[in-house]
Amino acid sequence: MSLIGQKNKRGGFKGGARRNENNRIYVNPLPLVFTDPPRSRTKSILSLLGISLASLENPHCEGILDVATNSVWLTNTAHSMVLWRRGFFGKGNLSRSEPSWLARQINIRRTGGNQMTSEELTAKRRAERQQFKQDRAKAIQAAFAEAEVAFETEGRVVKVALSGPSIPSAATWKPSESAKPPSIPDQSTTSQDADHPVDEEEPPLEDMEHLQLTFAEAWFLLWTMDCLTILDAQTLEPMSIQQIWSTFQSIHLNPMLLLDPKSQPSPKLQLHFDNPFLIHYVAYHHYRSLGWVVKGGIKFCVDYLLYKRGPVFSHAEFAIVLCPVYEDEDDKTTSPFELQNTSPFSWSWLSTINRVNATLQKTLILTYITIPAKSRISPDVLSSPACLSYYSVREVVIRRFIPARMRD
């Protein structure tokens, strides 16, 4: 059962209580868990010698390779919850973060929609903000019209104040019942009631959601943590680690081959240092290994967001844009991929993404991943993850420089 559902059942936590609850639920930063045996004298002595009696527990989760979405799907709720709670891996395809779609649906049925989920709350707040903006714009327009009349009739130049008793401000405005969205005559189909009958005897809800892991997440979980098994979508047989390694690369090369069940596995996998899977994995692994929680950043127009402990604890501090750099420009011209951001940005684009992130208090980081030159390193090393030691990662921190504020 989703955490969000539980939270709302109890009417929500207060700040400190929620933090404690989060500290308890998300105590493990990785899926691996160390279990300590009970305290004993033997243990203390052994521990002095640097010997441990603790044991390591690694979960075994199962996912299915989905070629079309370039991802691995977990449909087992228990597995999804383990990966989400221990390191915030994956994303529910119908939710903003952890899969909560089913909980939301159950909530709607149970309460008739009176108790709102966070998604619904967001929607409500959004509608209210919209209404506030409309009200404010209307009031300002009225003030200008008044000033206009004063000018035309009396020749008085009235300075229109954009705040004051008659102009609603964010602090004073309250949603009113009458301020509901205007009820425009219904132009839509009349059949909608038939499509969604309000029935007492509703069929049991089927969970339409899965936890989606990117290839980078999936590879990290199975390669370093050994806690994920990936099943072939056709055969539902577990894939070997070597098979997965080459599949993640070849999907980017030729998804058609893999989508067509009748096609033979490609006779010889072409290996390229600039395979998007490898570039993304290098970055993902780099930040994970430094203890960051790494999530996708499309909504902030970047590649990744870095969270210190996880998205439930704090806002992301850093917004990462991947900039792959060819050691040898010739490799770029012969590449089968169209990697983005391999050439320097225009200044206008840098302004755009920096501005978006600065207003949200995120520091923009350009993460340069060097792509080994084929002339320097044989692409044969790509047949195993040993190739990863030939890449390198460098960060460049971007901030606006405001001379007026740097004078001391």
Partner: protein, 121 residues
């Protein structure tokens, strides 16, 4: 696994490369955004399927609006001609929604209108 794609199967086999984003967007529209009368249309010039449905404009569905969505992934490249073709194939609606998906299943929707359309006051 095939069952997940059943609603959109005919066009997903026609355009296998764009099936992923179509699937993600279709499910989001049906199950999260709760649009009604959702149908999948062939958008041949963009080698993909588009989605048309009734968008909810308020909570209890008393007001809806027919809207068109063109899905694409973050790693694709598009062009003005491409967007123009989408408008033409969808019978020139005043606007289309571009749904951009990423590998982590995130989707962002942006409204694209033809011509110079003023921002809301």
């Amino acid at each position: 696994m095939q069952t997940h794609y059943s609603d959109i199967s005919s066009l997903s086999t026609k355009y296998p490369r764009t099936t992923g984003s179509l699937f993600l967007v279709y499910n989001d529209i049906v199950y999260s955004q709760l649009w009604t009368d959702v149908q999948v249309l062939d958008l041949e010039p963009c080698t993909r399927a588009a989605i048309r449905g009734c968008r909810r404009l308020n909570a209890n569905n008393t007001h809806t609006q027919i809207a068109n969505i063109v899905p694409c992934t973050l790693s694709e490249l598009v062009s003005l001609e491409w967007l123009d073709n989408a408008f033409v194939s969808l019978d020139d609606p005043p606007e289309v929604y571009l749904a951009i998906t990423s590998d982590d299943s995130s989707i962002v929707y942006y409204k694209i209108s033809r011509g110079i359309v003023k921002p809301p006051l």
